[in-house]
């Protein structure tokens, strides 16, 4: 029973932010062969984008988003993001992993990479008011209002003087955002940032209606009915933690390519219930979980439903406490850390406890993350995949490495069973907690040392223990914020707020500084590779475990439905119902 599902979401899965061009082909394959291509659709009364016969009733049934806030400025999670993907149009929209122009018709970047000029598309809000450039500018001003304390305000910091204004050091006039005319929007940056457009497609940057916000005052953001829509759908009915009804927005610029007339969303907490409804055709899509995976994968292969799989951009790993003050006092040695890290094989782990779901990780950066238009993980091999195989299932070699490390510390001992290390785990459900014992078992069996398992089921507690360094190794999950390896590599900068193991390396920090200046994607690729290798192979600050994934089932009648990589969990714009 997972009451705290939504906290979990905040913490881990498919996080926020935008996506840049890329992912085509490799990402987002759905068995239904739905290759909805916008723009080339010939609007025929009864035909879908690929010539399918459409059902007369275009209603999709889904699960209610656990929306935390209806204020775009405050959005920091993928559930709230899903809501705004349906009801709002930002500058870009992700379609099969490719970022397409949406709110803007085209844009130009200056030679020096400092000025971005966007030419907006003519679009209307659901109350008939035009969408204009100043509404995008209002967004920046609102997000940077420090009193609102918007979580993702730092996404705007690349904009010239944005951080200064946020800290109250200058006037908003000096911030590098300008509405040149109603349909031209200009950003000036502090320094070039190759993935700036990526960040811009994040929900927070959507245009806002100041008049509407003022109308509701303090209560703005608490009720879906307050929201004016400029996206494909608008809210017709909303009951908190029960149901939402979205209907097609006739004012939307691309309304002719929006097929669904209505989206009914219901809140369903129990996985068993979700699958019962899915089986009864009362729910059109559902995320795989536990043993349902086998059954429905089978059903999908028999054509009873469509299987949707795609990598998620979240990475799960163990962080080692690199300080002398760690409970065991041994973890400051890289060889000790390496010996412990190599006791556990990521592939065997996921095969054993997750029914082979997810992807075994031997690196930090997940698949689907791009540098320029190249996918990082296909360009750069995972740093420890080869080296690990030398140690796999070789307790003697692992022990020798461990002893070597101990010798360097001057703490070598013949009796390894006198050594105890502290493992800080995290799990909300019984099963999540249970499987972490597997890790303990592997370390104990291979090295003969003792592992003290402390599993915390409360995020607040786990976090304070992590920040206080009360662990030798701890479980950590990181979801990408934007589409660049930087979102992962940056965690382990000296003094970083999520660098719980207090890893600190001058070489690593220098590489990060170099990366901030570098614009050439080939060179950046090399620099990232170097940094990742230092972090995982040489210094063993972390032990990669797995890359999360998206694994869902979709009813055969629903086509074109997508799970975007960034921004939100669901994308309804391209979806339609076919006649069966």
């Amino acid at each position: 029973m997972r009451l705290k599902k939504f906290f979990n979401l905040l913490l881990v899965t498919g996080l926020f932010a935008a996506s840049l061009a890329g992912c085509n082909g490799s990402a987002g394959k759905s068995a239904g062969g739905d290759t909805a291509a916008t723009g080339q659709t010939s609007q025929n009364e009864k035909k879908g984008p690929n010539g399918e016969t459409l059902a007369s009733e275009q209603i999709a049934h889904g699960q209610q988003f656990h929306v935390i806030t209806f204020d775009t400025a405050q959005v920091g999670d993928s559930e709230s993001g899903s809501f705004f993907l349906a009801t709002c149009e930002g500058l870009f929209r992700e379609n099969h992993g490719v970022l397409e122009n949406a709110g803007c018709e085209k844009y130009e970047v200056s030679e020096d990479g400092l000025t971005y000029t966007f030419h907006l598309r003519k679009n209307k809000w659901s109350d008939g008011v035009e969408v204009v450039a100043s509404q995008y500018k209002d967004t920046i001003e609102r997000v940077l209002n420090a009193d609102l304390a918007c979580p993702y305000a730092f996404f705007t910091f690349p904009i010239k003087n944005a951080e200064k204004y946020y800290n109250g050091e200058c006037d908003f006039k000096e911030v590098g955002v300008e509405a040149v005319d109603d349909y031209t929007l200009k950003f000036t940056l502090e320094a070039p940032e190759p993935y700036f457009t990526d960040k811009l497609s994040y929900t927070m940057f959507n245009p806002i209606r100041v008049d509407n916000i003022e109308k509701y005052g303090d209560t703005y953001g608490t009720d879906a009915m307050q929201i004016l829509s400029c996206g494909p759908y608008m809210v017709q009915e909303y009951t908190a933690s029960q149901s939402t009804v979205l209907v097609k927005n006739p004012e939307y610029w691309d309304a002719e390519n929006v097929y669904l007339e209505e989206i009914d969303l219901q809140q369903i907490d129990e996985t068993a219930t979700q699958f019962q409804l899915f089986e009864a055709d009362q729910l059109d899509f559902v995320a795989a979980s536990g043993d349902y995976l086998k059954k429905w994968d089978q059903a999908a292969s028999e054509g009873k439903c469509q299987l949707y799989t795609n990598g998620d951009v979240a990475s799960q790993f163990f962080s080692f406490n690199t300080q002398e003050s760690s409970p065991s006092g041994l973890m400051q040695n890289a060889k000790v850390r390496k010996a412990i890290a190599y006791t556990l094989d990521s592939q065997t782990f996921i095969d054993s406890v997750y029914n082979s779901r997810y992807t075994a990780a031997y690196g930090l950066v997940t698949p689907n993350i791009k540098v320029g238009d190249k996918e990082y993980r296909t360009e750069v091999p995972e740093p420890i995949k080869e080296e690990y195989s030398e140690y796999a299932n070789n307790p003697e070699k692992l022990k020798a490495l461990f002893h070597e490390g101990l010798k360097e510390l001057g703490k070598d001992t013949d009796n390894l069973s006198t050594i105890t290390i502290q493992f800080l785990g995290y799990g909300e459900s019984t099963i999540e907690k249970d499987i972490e014992q597997y890790v303990v078992q592997r370390i104990q069996d291979n090295l003969g040392i003792k592992v003290n398992l402390n599993i915390v089921g409360d995020f607040g507690l786990a976090h304070s223990a992590q920040v206080a360094g009360e662990f030798d190794m701890c479980m950590q999950v990181w979801g990408a914020d934007y589409n660049d390896p930087m979102t992962f590599i940056d965690i382990f900068r000296t003094g970083g707020s999520s660098n719980y193991g207090k890893y600190s390396s001058e070489t690593y920090d220098k590489l990060l500084d170099q990366l901030a200046k570098e614009q050439d994607n080939e060179k950046r690729l090399k620099l990232y590779e170097e940094a990742e290798t230092i972090l995982i192979k040489e210094d063993v600050a972390i032990k990669p475990l797995l890359y999360r994934d998206k694994h869902s089932y979709i009813n055969n009648r629903l086509k074109g439905f997508q799970y975007p990589v960034f921004g939100g969990k669901y994308e309804f714009k391209y979806a339609y119902i076919v006649e069966e």
């Binding site: 304390a149 918007c150 809140q267 019962q276 507690l461 707020s497």
Partner: protein, 319 residues
């Protein structure tokens, strides 16, 4: 009587104050707070701003004073930390009717069925009916409500036997009346333990009054069995039932957690427990106060009912 009620209400205020204070300090004593999961990933500059916004950079005592001030001036505990802008009052308006309807239906079904079965068991004491009711009641009370809910949902909803909705709850115009098909399964699932509890309670207390002298007298007077049961036994055996009824009412408001989850019912129980687990202090304080008020008031009502049902007990009589 009025004086007594006023005194009890004043005492209630002190109790509530103590509860709020205790809850506040206990929640503040735990490491981490509602913001932790929200800001864990963010850069330090933004973290500081958010912490400042919600006042978590201030000492506990100061936050307590601010909270209490807000309570006195504005009459509430403030906005939710997890869902900015939301207040407890707003959610109460939406969720309380759901919980109240579910509770009323469960109590009506559970208590009446329980009492009826209890009366049958007591009157047919020793018969097969008695044994059947006893064993059935024992069985119902020994099954976790979650298992009952899951079984009902699996076999009675959308199945071959019954075509009831798997999940959901009436809303809008049907909030109070109508949409019955949604409420059938949750009501049954929730009332099982009450049926069991009240049938046993009724039986024992009926047996107790059957053995009393006044019943013997009534029988000696030549009253019919029906009259004896109606006029003497039932009236007197209602005393223990009435004393536990208010605690049933208070318990049911939080007790429906599993049922609310399994049938996706947007009630108070789920909302409150989410707030507790997320340490959303304003909401937890408001929720705790709300439940405490219900408990305290039900205790008061119990005492008054006592006096009405049993004339021997005098309310408010000094020592």
């Amino acid at each position: 009587m009025a004086k007594y009620i006023i005194r009890r209400l004043l005492e209630m205020l002190i109790t509530l104050f103590l509860i709020v204070t205790a809850t506040f300090f206990l929640l503040s004593a735990i490491p981490g707070n509602a913001l932790t999961s929200k800001i864990a990933k963010l850069p330090k500059t933004v973290q500081t701003k958010i912490i400042q916004k919600y006042g978590y950079d201030r000492p506990v005592i100061e936050r307590y004073v601010i909270t209490m001030k807000g309570l006195i001036i504005k009459g509430d505990f403030g906005e939710s930390i997890i869902r900015p802008g939301e207040t407890f009052a707003k959610n109460l308006k939406a969720k309380l009717p759901v919980t109240i309807r579910l509770s009323i239906q469960q109590i009506l079904l559970g208590v009446t069925a329980g009492i009826l079965l209890g009366i049958i068991a007591a009157m047919k004491r020793g018969s097969y009916w008695d044994k059947l009711i006893l064993v059935g009641a024992m069985f119902l009370v020994s099954m976790p409500s979650l298992v009952i809910s899951l079984l009902l949902q699996k076999y009675c909803a959308n199945g071959d036997i019954l075509k009831l909705p798997i999940i959901g709850w009436p809303k809008g115009k049907e909030l109070w009346l109508g949409g019955w098909k949604y409420t059938i399964l949750p009501t049954i699932a929730g009332s099982c333990s009450f049926i069991a509890y009240y049938s046993r309670l009724t039986k024992t207390s009926m047996l107790e009054s059957i053995n009393q002298e006044y019943t013997l007298t009534a029988r000696a007077k030549g009253l019919s069995e029906m009259q004896i049961v109606k006029n003497h036994v039932i009236r007197n055996s209602f005393i223990p039932i009435i004393t536990v009824l208010p605690s049933t009412v208070a318990g049911i408001l939080t007790g429906s957690l599993f049922i609310e989850r399994v049938f996706s019912i947007p009630g108070m129980g789920r909302y409150y427990i989410e707030a507790v687990q997320g340490r959303d202090i304003p909401i937890v304080l408001a929720g705790t106060t709300f439940y405490a008020i219900i408990t305290v008031i039900t205790m008061l009502i119990t005492d008054i009912l006592y006096g009405i049902v049993d004339p021997r007990i005098k309310i408010g009589a000094g020592k």
